[in-house]
């Protein structure tokens, strides 16, 4: 042992008056290595550049509207750009609420799906289940929108009514204008709501979230799993002590990816929501809004200034998504499985 440690000492020492300089290490890269590195570098830089350009483009196009509206852009609850009365307070809150509902519904669902597929499902059907989940992720969002509008909406109002009558003491579940004791009360107060839009978006993000989580769960080290089982833990105990802690990064990463998609989901929300431009805290009540559905709704018919206002809204969404993703990646990077998600 000591001999190997001594070994470097056997190199003749440098001249005493020269300072110690570490030996320069260099690699001569082969041509193919260089080419490969160049390709990677370019594509990496291209992603950053494209993102920068998107941001710059949005800012440039939004400048008109932003400079006219100033800070009131962040606090105004209205969208009448041509009268100069517009701001994103309501729509940004609406976007976040829809995404929150979606994540709250989708993440437990996806977690269950991922755990079942990776831990419980018999090997025979595992591959088929994976394919089905992936297939669900491939359904176009307009199909989900149609399903939500024509199928789900008419049927979910009873659940919404029950939620609002039972949990009405919780302010977001209140539905103004509803009267459970009135048999003639209209069901429309429960339709076109943040809740329904959020449910549909949840269906869209759940498969994506589930497949990321599953991917990470299957990578939990076999040695640790076996160790846990050998120490007498049940399968659920093993999952709780080994798989879930290991997969924390994947859970958070998947959730954030889902959140990002939920924030930007357009067409399904566009079809379901009845846009209102006032902050709508009541998630079960009719009316809501989201940035991307507003853009889809108005871009075709906007004046140049209206377009600029829409771009400003888009910029706000862009920045918000960036912040969320950076926050998520910093959390993920600290976890064990972080590198893989």
């Amino acid at each position: 042992m000591s001999a190997t440690i001594e070994a470097p000492r056997t190199i003749p020492p440098a001249a005493p008056d020269e300072p110690d300089v570490p030996r320069r290490l260099g690699t001569r890269r082969s041509a193919s290595d260089k080419a490969f590195r160049a390709v990677l570098l370019t594509s990496g830089a291209a992603v950053l550049a494209i993102m920068g350009f998107v941001g710059a483009f949005l800012l440039l196009r939004a400048w008109d509207a932003l400079s006219q509206a100033g800070w009131s852009f962040l606090t105004t609850q209205a969208w009448e750009p041509d009268s100069g009365n517009f701001g994103i307070a309501a729509i940004l809150v609406g976007t976040i609420l829809i995404a929150t509902v979606a994540v709250v519904v989708a993440v437990p669902l996806a977690l269950g799906v991922a755990l079942y597929i990776s831990e419980y499902a018999p090997t025979r059907i595992k591959q088929s289940l994976v394919s089905i989940v992936d297939l669900m992720a491939a359904i176009p969002s307009v199909v989900f929108g149609l399903w939500g509008f024509f199928f789900l909406q008419g049927r979910i109002t009873d659940l919404a009514r029950w939620l609002s009558t039972t949990f009405g003491w919780f302010p977001p579940f209140q539905v103004p204008g509803s009267d459970p004791s009135d048999p003639l009360a209209t069901a429309t107060v429960y339709t076109s709501s943040t809740f329904i839009a959020g449910l549909v978006v949840a269906m869209m993000i759940a498969p994506v979230v589930a497949s990321i989580m599953r991917e990470v769960f299957t990578q939990a080290p076999v040695g640790e799993r076996e160790g846990a089982l050998a120490l007498g833990s049940t399968r659920w105990g093993m999952i709780r002590r080994v798989v879930l802690p290991y997969g924390k990064g994947g859970i958070i990463g998947g959730t954030m990816l889902g959140l990002g998609r939920a924030l930007g989901e357009t067409i399904a929300v566009y079809m379901i929501i009845s846009p209102v431009f006032a902050i709508q805290w009541h998630v079960l009540a009719n009316g809501g809004s989201s940035v991307s559905s507003l853009i889809a709704l108005r871009y075709g018919e906007s004046t140049p200034f209206g377009m600029s206002a829409l771009m400003a809204a888009g910029l706000a969404l862009f920045l918000m998504t960036l912040v969320i993703n950076f926050a998520a990646s910093s959390v993920v990077a600290r976890s064990r499985s972080g590198a893989s998600s």
Partner: protein, 567 residues
């Protein structure tokens, strides 16, 4: 097999007619966007001309979007209810720099389609005066038992149910038509509402309906969106403004609207035609707004058959080759325009629209010549079989329009007869078969509500039961049994949009007795029926394919692995 026959049939038709729009020509795809108000007609027409090899792509994204896209040069034509140059929310919608002309495509009535029931029975004979309509859509009349509504409906005891007005959330020609009428006839109420919604007054015409948060209004994109929302069974108490064809399509009733002569009328083809006799058309050929409409004469038309919210819809076509518009496209667009101005008008009534009168067809055909590349429309206008044409140039449809019955008079007890899509098809039970058999294929609400008609025919004078209790499946069986006992010649149709509208076609007839013979046979019918019979097979095939996609890859991979292991 029938589908395979379709080209032959088309060819035979072409040979025999000889006047088919530019037979044996090569056509290039043409793209358009705009109005959803008239999209039911446009969609039917463009399916009809597919047999000539014309591909017309049309996105019904709303009139405002259509005009903007045409202005930006991203589409070859736009369809819109209002022309360029109107001031909306203080901003003038500037006309595009490219050359363009307007051409009327079809007439129709902006109807008030509603979903209302009393004691489990659907109300199908609601009547509304202009004041009440304005009150509903400006939020001053909020309950169905409002005395103003009761005054219009002496025969109805309406419940204390909240009125939920459903408006368009996108920029739309329907909104523009409706607000033009409100601004002209009920300006004060409209301006008050507009001001409360944060718009500058006088509000005038606007394409995007202002909403006030918390008022209980629901906003949905597109005509399909508002009609689909009202047609959801649970959404009782809703009312929306939408073209009459959407009410026929979804099987829901429309409100009869009070006209200047004191009668409540439905927007049937003939009532719209009568109303539009009062429209003032810009006949100055040099004006950039040549052929556009001034509807104030329609609102005040004193004929008692007038539907006051009648209007024309327009296509905007380019007159120069720029923005990617070529002579080849012009050729196709010209042929399409000649088709819908002439033959296409026959179907207007069946679809829930009203055909153009002869002067507008002639003027439109003259405009076709201005499209670069279009053949001069050598259409023999006498062969168009347009129900409005007559030898002396008067509007036959309007002339023969039936007078409203006395029960439609203001103050009298209202008629029992259901309106719009809720009206029973007259006698021909084959129609309900069409609706019934369509239900299992599950086209959203259409199938189920279509069956309402079937239910009505069965129970007779009890229009509500079908719609309010049954769901799609039971409706379907209703329809089928009806068809079994009936004559069942089956106008059954499968094509998504056309199907229900065709089924609802004779409904229009029921109100204009004597006009029923005008229901024309459609060249597309064979194809439509064939697709109806194919669809179950297609569904099964799609399911099998889906299952195969899911199941086969893992099986194959497992098999491969097993083989590897064995080796």
């Amino acid at each position: 097999m029938r589908r395979a026959l379709a080209p032959f049939i088309a060819a035979i038709l072409l040979l025999s007619a000889g006047a088919g729009p530019a037979a044996a020509d090569s056509f290039v795809p043409v793209n358009g966007a705009g109005s959803s108000w008239s999209s039911n007609a446009v969609d039917q027409w463009r399916r009809n001309v597919e047999q000539y090899g014309m591909r017309i792509n049309y996105a019904s994204t709303g009139s405002s979007d259509g005009r903007n896209q045409f202005k930006a040069g991203t589409v070859d034509f736009a369809i819109t209810e209002i022309p360029y140059g109107l001031k909306d929310g203080g901003v003038v919608d500037t006309p595009p720099s490219r050359g363009f002309v307007y051409m009327p495509i079809v007439a129709g009535g902006t109807a008030f389609m509603y979903n209302l029931s009393v004691g489990g029975k659907q109300v199908t004979n609601l009547r509304l005066s202009g004041d009440v309509v304005t009150g509903i859509f400006t939020g001053t009349i909020t309950s169905w038992d409002d005395p103003a509504i009761a005054k219009d409906n002496p025969g109805l005891a309406l419940p204390k149910r909240k009125i939920v007005p459903v408006v368009r959330s996108d920029g739309s020609g329907s909104t523009a038509q409706f607000t033009t009428w409100m601004a002209a006839r009920h300006g004060k109420a409209w301006d008050t509402y507009c001001a409360a919604a944060g718009r500058s007054t006088p509000c005038g015409v606007t394409s995007s309906y202002p909403t006030i948060p918390g008022k209980g209004f629901v906003a949905q994109p597109n005509s399909q969106g508002v009609a689909g929302y009202v047609a959801q069974r649970g959404n009782v108490g809703t009312i929306t403004y939408v073209e009459y064809s959407y009410a026929l399509k979804t099987g829901y009733p429309v409100a009869k609207v009070l006209n200047e002569a004191g009668y409540y009328v439905e927007p049937t083809a003939s009532n719209v035609a009568v109303g539009l006799l009062g429209a003032e058309i810009n006949t100055d050929e040099k004006s950039p707004k040549y052929l556009t409409q001034d509807l104030s004469g329609v609102y005040t038309n004193g004929d008692k058959r007038t539907y006051p919210l009648s209007s024309y819809s327009y296509i905007v076509v380019p007159t120069s080759t720029q923005n990617g518009f070529t002579a080849a496209k012009g050729h196709t667009l010209g042929a399409f325009a000649s088709y819908f101005l002439c033959e296409g008008q026959q179907q207007a009534e069946v679809l829930g629209y009203s055909p153009l009168p002869v002067n507008l067809v002639q003027a439109g055909l003259d405009q076709v010549g201005k499209i670069p590349g279009a053949d001069d429309a050598n259409v023999d206008i006498k062969k168009c079989n347009n129900p409005t044409f007559s030898a002396d140039g008067s509007n036959t449809l309007a002339k023969n329009a039936p007078q409203p019955s006395e029960c439609d008079k203001q103050g009298n007890d209202q008629c029992d007869k259901p309106t719009g899509g809720a009206a029973p098809p007259p006698g021909s039970k084959g129609d309900t078969t069409g609706g019934g058999t369509k239900t299992p294929t599950g086209t959203k609400t259409d199938g189920g509500t279509k069956g309402t008609g079937g239910g009505t025919t069965g129970t007779g004078g009890d229009p509500g039961t079908g719609g309010s209790t049954g769901d799609g499946t039971t409706q379907g069986t209703d329809g089928t049994t009806d068809g079994g006992t009936g004559t069942g010649t089956g106008t059954g149709t499968g094509v998504a949009v056309a199907g229900p509208s065709t089924g609802g076609g004779p409904v229009v007839c029921s109100d204009d007795t004597g006009q029923c013979t005008n229901v024309v046979s459609m060249p597309i019918e064979t194809e439509a029926r064939s697709s109806g019979s194919i669809s179950p097979l297609a569904v099964v095939a799609a399911c099998l394919l889906l299952v195969a996609l899911v199941v086969i890859p893992p099986l194959v991979s497992r098999g491969a692995q097993a083989r590897k292991v064995r080796r």
